[in-house]
Amino acid sequence: MSEQIKVGISDYKIATAPNQLVTIGLGSCIGIALFAPKAKMGALSHIMLPDSTSFNDISNWPKFADLALPKIVDELREKASEEELLVKIAGGASMFSFSTESPILQIGQRNIEAVKTCLEELKLKIISEHVGGKMGRSMFVDLDTFDVKVRMVNRDEFVL
């Protein structure tokens, strides 16, 4: 039986096929789906913030892109005994944009950039993405095929 494993905000989960990893309600947050193709093992991370350096309390490390990604990538590489991982990302929206706001201040944009920088440092390439815009997203990661369904309200589903 395949099971849907839900990943909450500021959280991550690792699972194997035939299970699915799911995260609901990515606004400015980003969902990062990582996949080890031989083991059919994957991770889904739901980060909230780009950078932990200006925070005192970093005990909840899966919340920050800069802390979460290196740790989760390490854990998945070790558990799957595979170096090469595939990556797909979605999220980073700006749900309400006031025209006066510059993109530098928008947390969604900053999250997108931080996630991309972290992945580059980890020598991982994003194979597909669905980021930015003004709409929220939910991600459904199939660990058999690594199809990642992105669902939005009042829009067609998009498969990464």
């Binding site: 609901i24 309600g25 606004g27 749900m95 947390i107 709409m135 939910s138």
Partner: protein, 198 residues
């Protein structure tokens, strides 16, 4: 800070929300021409999980109108309503036989939310004797989960726990419901309490 003092501050805050919400409910009743009732204001610190379990599930589709308090340091108001209820409210606001479109419903909802925000503010302004202005409202339809986390972060609230400040309004029994939230910036409540002399 003593325990009594923090209780006093909590009570003061709840009372402000009660007065603001009461004012908003009265304006709302005038607008739709029917009685509008209000629950005791909800003022509580909750984790994201608790909010999604106890207040509204993260995968619920909602219409949300947002208005920002001018001055960049206070926060934003949200009016959250089920799309079906938004539809019913629009029918109450518009003349019979109006041909309804999504655009018309959204525009009625924005107008109604604007009146809620302005009348809430008017009451608070009288309490603190200081002008406060809310921006023109913007609206979206999306999952409650996507909106809530994004709005709190835009207000520089990065913690795992959210300070939820909320008024529930309802009319026709519980057939139509809507919630007003105030999402404060980090120092906003402190400023408010100082202005109240507490």
């Amino acid at each position: 800070m003593s325990k009594d003092h923090s209780l006093l501050r909590y009570d003061a805050l709840q009372e402000v929300v009660n007065i603001g919400g009461g004012h908003a409910a009265t304006s709302l009743a005038k607008l739709i021409g029917r009685p509008v009732e209000m629950d005791v204001p909800f003022v509580e610190l909750l984790s994201y999980e608790e909010v999604y379990q106890n207040i509204q599930a993260d995968d619920t589709i909602v219409k949300v109108v947002l208005s920002e308090l001018m001055g960049k340091k206070y926060g934003v108001f949200l009016f959250v309503i089920d799309p079906d209820d938004a539809d019913k409210v629009a029918h109450m606001l518009l003349p019979d036989q109006t041909e309804m479109s999504e655009e018309l419903i959204d525009s009625s909802l924005k107008e109604l939310s604007n009146i809620i925000f302005q009348s809430f503010l008017q009451a608070v302004v009288q309490l603190i004797d200081k002008p406060l202005i809310a921006s023109l409202p913007v609206m979206t339809t999306d999952l409650f989960g996507s909106i809530l986390s994004s709005v709190y972060m835009e207000q520089e609230q990065y913690s795992d726990e959210l300070f939820i400040i909320k008024n529930n309004f309802y009319s026709l029994g519980h057939k139509i419901e809507g919630s007003l939230y105030f999402v404060p910036k980090p120092q906003a409540l402190e400023l408010l309490l100082i202005q109240l002399g507490i």
